[in-house]
Every structure is written in C-alpha cells, then in structure tokens.
Point group: C2
C-alpha cells in the first residue's frame, strides 16, 4: 500500500519546522520566528498571517511580531496581492541568498561588536610592561586579529555569488 502523499508531505513539513526551530533556538533566535521561517521556506505560495497562525497554532500577536521581525532582518518579504487587503508573506527561497543574509546579520550582531571591544582592549593594554600585562595584551591581540580576519572573510563571502564561492570551497575540501 502506497503511503498517502498528503500525510507524507505533512510529516516532512512538521519535522523540518521542528528542527529549524531548534536550530534557531541554538542561535539565540526566537524559536517561533524560526518556525515561521521554516513554514514559509516550504510554502510554494505566500501565506497570510492567519494561515501561519493556523499552521503553527500560535496567537495573532505572536505571528504578527515574528513575521514583522523576519521581514526586518531580510529573511521574508511582505507580498500584496492586487485586489486583496490581507497581507501575505514569503521567504527568500534561494539557499545561497538565505545563507548570505544570515551571515551578514550575524556578523553585524556578533562579530562587529566583539571586534570593537577586542581592538579597544588590545590597544589599551599595549603599553603595559609587567609580565601579566604583557601576557594579557598578547592574548587580546591574538583574539583581535582572528576576529578581524573572520570579519573580512564574512564580508567577502556574503558579497560573492554562489557560483564563485562554492567551487572554491570544494577545492578547499579536495
């Protein structure tokens, strides 16, 4: 007996949504937000707030807040359909685009502030002459340099087309 297509689809969708939510959670992102994103990633057509509410069993306020946030950070778009008042939302589907958006956002929120602090700290301890001061300065400098490298790399990667980068990655793997 062949598996029902509808339930297969539904099961896969649910597993993916759950996992994407868990991943978001590990990244310090609101779980619901990640789940909405997952739902929209797998939706061939844009979805309305009400459809999102229904699919994930969440409240209107919750859905609204997180949809808005998804739009803000560039992972989703609002779609208006001619003649319809209701708003729809769709996710950016291209995986490389998605990756770049996430990369940029995380660089901005995580790497950049850290880089600033590390540079300041390394600078301010540069003049220290005692053993501990020197050791701390060296450690800070090593960290600062690394984060600096990470920042340039992230920026460069996020600005490159998939077709240019993926082969380079594969070469690195070879």
């Amino acid at each position: 007996m062949p598996t029902s297509g509808a339930s297969t689809l539904q099961t896969a969708r649910e597993r993916f949504i759950a996992q994407w939510g868990a991943l978001g959670s590990a990244w310090g992102i609101n779980r619901t937000m990640a789940q909405i994103h997952a739902l929209l990633l797998l939706s061939p057509e844009p979805r309305s707030t009400d459809e999102v509410m229904e699919a994930l069993a969440i409240s209107r306020g919750n859905a609204n807040t997180n949809l808005r946030e998804l739009v803000t950070c560039g992972l989703c778009r609002k779609v208006v359909r001619p003649g319809e008042r209701r708003e729809y939302f769709e996710a950016e589907k291209d995986v490389w685009q998605l990756f770049c958006t996430i990369l940029r956002e995380r660089k901005r929120r995580e790497i950049d502030p850290t880089r600033t602090v590390l540079r300041d700290c390394a600078d301010s301890t540069r003049g220290l002459r005692d053993a501990e001061g020197r050791a701390v300065h060296e450690q800070l400098k090593a960290l600062a340099d690394f984060v600096e490298l990470a920042a340039s790399l992230a920026e460069r990667v996020a600005a490159t087309e998939q077709s240019k980068i993926v082969p380079a990655m594969l070469r690195l793997l070879g």
Copy 2:
C-alpha cells in the same frame, strides 16, 4: 599623568569578559560560562574555583557547574598542582585551537542534527507527484545539499592546521 597599569588591565579585562559573555549569550550559551571562559583566556596562570567566584562575583555552585561544562566541551582543562588538593582551571589559549573546538562542537550540536532531518525529509518527499509536493521536495533538497556542504567544510576546516588554512582564506579575500 600616566594611566595606572593595574586599572587599565582591570578595565580591559572587564570589558572583554562582558563582551565575551554577550557573544556566548547570542550563541545560546550560558552567559556565566562564557564569562568564566573569558576570564581564563586572559589569565596567564590557571585559576582556582574560588578565584573565579571572586573575580566574577558568582556562587560556588554556579562556578562549579560551568567550569565542569567548560571542561566537558573541551574549552578548558583541569590542572592539578602537586601537593595541592584544590583544583585549578586554564583555558586553551591558542586561538586557532579554540576556533576549531568551537567549530566542532557547534557542528555536532547544530549542523549534524539538521543534516539528518533534512536528508530524511528530502528522501521521504522524493516520490511526490503533485505540484506542491514537488516544490517542497526541491526546496528541501536544496537545503539538504547546502547543509551537507557546510558539514564537510566544517569537518575539513576543523581538522586542518592554522598554517594551512589562513593563507587560503587570505587568498580568498585578495
């Protein structure tokens, strides 16, 4: 009037600890754990539980739990000093080692489970014949492939010496 070396050092240390804590927070890591790690990163000598408690103004239980966790995930080591009962802790200081440890840990906790789910979902939707089923399958497959690539890349990078990778990165940037 020259700045006091001691307070300069103290200020830099505190800023760094605060920032590292914030970064940990964004990564879904216990803030205190990240702060302890920061403190140890900047400590030329290993520190005892009591020193950590005092420096960060945290309780014994809290310090103990998080130090243990840091050891578990390979970011710190327990150090026993001959003739002393008290335990000391030190962080891995080498920045590239540190990066690799974090990379491996995050791959294990974030990428691997996601990869499994994506593969399963992509497989189970392979047979679908209606428009929506096909679209969903394609999207899942694109995500699965990307995560697969990320996994190999992470593995490869974490297993490579700094001297081999950093030049390659810089070339990528050039």
